[in-house]
Symmetry: C2
Subunit: 365 residues, 2 copies
């Protein structure tokens, strides 16, 4: 493999996890107004209306009416909905048994609010869209303490403020069931062509941001959605892009499948090029295993929310040269024409290709 | 009370319920392709992509990528999110004990899909917006039969087709919990000023579409969102508008509260002007009660999804004259300046005002 496969900047992808406890205690100290103790939905909504994060001047009508009203320009608009549910996307701290070490930390309510928003932001990033508005629907467990809805909302509001996205509206209710948050998001393309999953062609470089694996140890709660990075890549004209939510093996397979409409394509990646994260190594160690297991986590673990992008070699060189962000980018391999019977994705170990089985996350319905 | 309080056309608001069984059997016969039996989310998504309802030519990227992409014009955009949950917004047929007569019929999976969409359409109507795109997130009970997700989706797709709204994207997962559907919707104002909850002034007429009460007997599953009617009313320049989701007493109180920022306003409605629906009378009869109870249902029952609008008297006359729709409109009373200590909403019984207590739906968190 040539210099295409080098990391372009230092790997700084994992500092968030270490910061989480100090940040969380800071959040709590900063809070002055608390949610009303009443279980009346309308009192809660009135409280929310006093605690809203800064909104775009384009928002004419915010939370509290039948719909929100926001001004939009003539444009392509990106649209997304996503739901996070207790027990699947997070374990809520203080509910149920303490998770074991390999299950990673339980989430604070603020982290649940944050994750619900950042998952959608990551999808916007993967299209090259600039996120614009957020709608959120929260279904609370009946009888949960007021602090739960207060802190979940604080996490949502703070995350919207951090990423400059406008909380336009929402909906809250409760039921005899787990905590569930649905987030819908709009984003603006501002004249940039959206980066789809389809479009990868033989000879294109396969590349990613950041490092992979072991996000269960905390990154899945605190990851940075790669918004500016995704926008930059879309502007430079990538062939295809996806955010790594299910895991590299599955998400790269999806790129191959979606890109295969015109002519069949596969991907080859080099094992030694895969940036194994510190978390992947730490998780393997917790399991009493070594480097091979850490690589496994990098290839198959979900929720790293890094960007996987496919790009023409000449554009890749330009991107490497001009890359202005802290997070590193790295080429993993190359797209190839897919011969009949060949596996979609292969991994080269010491130059020898073998099929990369999809062992990443698949929702079972 | 003068002729302001007359019904303008015949009351045809309840024919839907009677038709539901024949329509449902028709739906089933028309189905040819079934959802895959596999529990793999991706196979389900691939099936959905073959069964999508007609989409706007503005939809460039539909379900299956990180986000949907849709072209929008320079405009005010209406935005809404809403969640319907099993046991609160519907009882699913074939799950749990058969509901008693006063609980109304259990919902078919198609009706659940329909209701999730039409609730948002009704909110769009209440702003005067023309609905444009739909995103839907479905959380299924683990182990539910394939027919559940197939029929819920069919209900969603058929409803989108009926109302000409584009199903742009979605998300499906399962959990050990009840069935839950979150719908996000965008709508276009096309230069029309949005009809807010705030804006009602003393002397304005209080009016509604259709008749009220007893929607639990079936209308809450099969109501017609008043999209064209809401648009017409917004174009004519109503002072305020809301869709009747929680019930007349609560929703009219909300109009008074939201409109009270400039100067305090209340509302008087005449008991004899309230259009008591056949369902309200039927429900009272099932409870072994009479006309007084039927009126109670009309004043306080939720989920009629008719429009409650407040309008200047001269505009009201014009609206009555030009009203082109089948559903009747009717004036119920008038807004008044609110003296200190007076109840927000009063009901006039034989000309004598008494406070109308809010006994409509309030979510308890």
């Amino acid at each position: 493999m040539d210099d295409m496969y080098k990391t372009t900047t230092v790997d700084a992808a994992e500092s968030y996890i270490a910061e989480r406890r100090s940040e969380d205690s800071g959040d709590r100290a900063a809070m002055t107004k608390h949610a009303p103790k009443s279980s009346d939905e309308f009192e809660y909504i009135n409280w929310i209306r006093t605690e809203l994060p800064p909104a775009s001047p384009d928002l004419e009508v915010g939370p509290g009416d039948d719909c929100a009203i926001m001004r939009v320009k003539q444009d392509r608009q990106a649209l997304k909905i996503d739901t996070v549910i207790e027990g699947k996307h997070f374990i809520l701290s203080g509910r149920g048994p303490k998770p074991t070490a390999v299950m990673g930390p339980a989430a604070t309510p603020e982290e649940v609010g944050r994750k619900a928003i950042t998952r959608c932001l990551s999808d916007m990033a993967a299209m090259g869209a600039t996120p614009s508005s957020v709608l959120i629907s929260v279904t609370l467990p009946t009888g949960a303490p007021v602090s739960l809805r207060e802190l979940v909302f604080k996490g949502v509001a703070k995350t919207c403020a951090t990423y400059g996205v406008t909380l336009a509206g929402g909906d809250t209710q409760s039921w005899d069931g787990p905590l569930s948050l649905s987030v819908a998001m709009t984003g603006a393309m501002d004249g940039v062509r959206p980066a789809l999953r389809a479009g990868a062609a033989p000879g294109d470089v396969v590349a990613i941001t950041g490092s992979l694996g072991g996000s269960i140890l905390g990154k899945h709660l605190r990851f940075e959605p790669r918004i500016a990075e995704g926008r930059f890549l879309a502007e430079k004209g990538v062939s295809a892009m996806i955010d790594l939510s299910d895991g590299l093996s599955g998400d790269l397979t999806r790129i191959c499948e979606e890109s295969g409409a015109r002519f069949a394509v596969g991907a080859d990646i080099a094992a030694e090029a895969v940036p194994v994260s510190k978390s992947a190594r730490r998780l393997a160690k917790l399991e009493g295993k070594g480097a091979e297991r850490a690589l496994h986590h990098s290839l198959h673990d979900g929720e790293d929310f890094e960007l996987l992008f496919i790009v023409k070699p000449n554009r890749w060189k330009k991107i490497v040269k001009e890359w202005p962000f802290d997070v590193p980018i790295r080429a993993l391999g190359m797209m190839r024409p897919l011969a009949k019977g060949e596996p979609l994705v292969r991994i080269l170990k010491k130059g020898e290709p073998e099929a990369l089985e999809v062992m990443s996350w698949v929702h079972q319905l």
